[in-house]
């Protein structure tokens, strides 16, 4: 069996300048904060971050923005992290705002090998700008493109040593989606268990998608 377990220090070297990173989490819930810490302690700069929201300045993915590690963020909500708004206005940070459902589906499309999808969300709004609008059966849709990343950082409730994952409650959110959409998938789990301890019927993210598990 491939050993997927890595230490906190080993994980730091995985992050390089200008990488695109996807993170799970909704207002910090379901964000692997230890891995966020590893990025902060790594040398990586000018990162692109894809995440539901930029959380708060001091939790979730928020510190990555507050500490100037992000050049661009693709997200649906920045209202709770004042650093994001401030840096957007001063042009230190590029912000692409995407409706939450469209963001989830763009990641899903990226992970599912699709070239994009047609959504009615945003028709008649600024979201339409510079995008193809198509009429299907009399209804207007926007063509939205897939999102992919170099690294996905995931928070799981339990991981077995082969990388099978289960989540807990609303901490699931974007985590199962980003597991499919990145070249390298790193997991922080609350509990690491032996292979066989997780019921195969209940596994949400199968081990074939997971590359590294933080111990």
């Amino acid at each position: 069996m491939v050993n997927k377990l890595i230490t906190f220090n080993e994980s730091k070297s995985l992050f390089q300048d200008k990488m695109t990173i996807m993170s799970g989490g909704f207002m910090g819930v379901g964000t692997p904060e230890k891995i966020v810490e590893a990025i902060l302690e790594s040398e990586a700069n000018e990162l692109t971050l894809i995440t539901n929201d930029t959380s708060f300045e001091n939790n979730g993915v928020g510190p990555l923005i507050a500490n100037n590690r992000i050049a661009k963020v693709v997200t649906s909500h920045i209202g709770t992290n004042r650093a994001t708004g401030r840096k957007m206005i001063s042009k230190e940070l590029e912000v692409e705002l995407v409706p939450q459902g469209t963001l989830a589906e763009r990641i899903r499309a990226g992970g599912a090998g699709l070239g994009g999808f047609l959504t009615p969300t945003g028709v008649g709004t600024v979201v339409e700008k510079d995008k193809q609008v198509m009429q299907i059966e009399g209804k207007k849709y926007i063509l939205e493109t897939p999102l992919k990343a170099d690294i996905a950082i995931i928070k799981a409730y339990k991981a077995d040593k082969s990388g099978n994952l289960v989540y807990r409650q609303s901490a699931r959110n974007f985590n199962p989606l980003i597991a499919l959409a990145a070249k390298l998938v790193i997991v922080q789990a609350e509990h690491i268990v032996e292979i066989g301890e997780l019921d195969p019927e209940c596994i949400v993210t199968p081990n074939v998608l997971v590359d590294k598990i933080l111990i």
Partner: protein
């Protein structure tokens, strides 16, 4: 705290609660709409969706879990029979038309049913979160908001000036003064709150609106 403000919001929440029907799947926006559950009749059962990934949203139980929050990031509970899912599924429920009613706040609503509630350029740029998907996908879109802005300006306008959340998406507006419906890009006053007259509503509304027959009968 401003006492009249609280009662205005509660009056709105109470009225919106009457629109919910037995068996409905409902998504409530943050702020004012979160007052609604306490006004729902015990005779009906309504299921709430939290767009961060579950149905069966309830107020917080005794044992607070750090992994269980509502769409505003606040501690939440889940009812027996509830279910968790990921964000893509959550928005399949929303976009796919499986949510019966969404209740959201508004900065501006215009007479054609356009809604602006996600950005004030140059001032406030929180992002749209799930609002654009909700107004596009929910079967019924109710805007629950105070009739006037904090600057005492009408929020129900002829044409939205702020960037839109959705185009021709609003079905109903409930304020502390009145209830309007919007059908085929036409705004109609269908109900007055107790003690409110048509003239007051007209004074405080910039939009053109029709007056429903029931109200005409009552005031004549």
């Amino acid at each position: 705290m401003n006492k009249t403000l609280i009662s205005a919001k509660e009056r709105i929440a109470q009225r919106v609660a009457q629109e919910l029907q037995n068996g409905d799947l409902v998504n409530l926006g943050i702020g004012l709409p979160t007052l609604i559950p306490s006004y729902i009749s015990n005779n009906i059962q309504v299921t709430f969706q939290s767009e961060n990934g579950f149905i069966g949203l309830s107020s917080v139980e005794d044992n607070v879990s750090p992994d269980l929050v509502n769409a505003g990031g606040q501690p939440a509970g889940i009812k027996q029979g509830g279910a968790f899912f990921d964000s893509a599924f959550s928005f399949e429920l929303i976009r796919g038309g499986h949510v019966d009613v969404t209740v959201l706040g508004g900065l501006e609503v215009d007479q054609e049913g356009n809604l602006a509630n996600w950005i004030i350029p140059g001032k406030l740029v929180p992002g749209m979160g799930g609002a654009m998907d909700l107004v596009t996908g929910a079967k019924k879109v109710i805007i629950a908001m105070e009739h006037l802005s904090k600057k005492e300006e009408p929020k129900i306008v002829k044409k939205c000036k702020l960037p839109l959340t959705g185009s021709n998406v609003v079905d109903m507006i409930v304020t502390e003064l009145a209830v309007f419906k919007i059908e085929n890009k036409e705004l109609t006053l269908i109900e007055l709150m107790p003690g409110v007259g048509v003239d007051e509503v007209r004074d405080k509304t910039e939009a053109d609106f029709n007056i429903h027959e029931d109200i005409k009968t009552k005031i004549n």
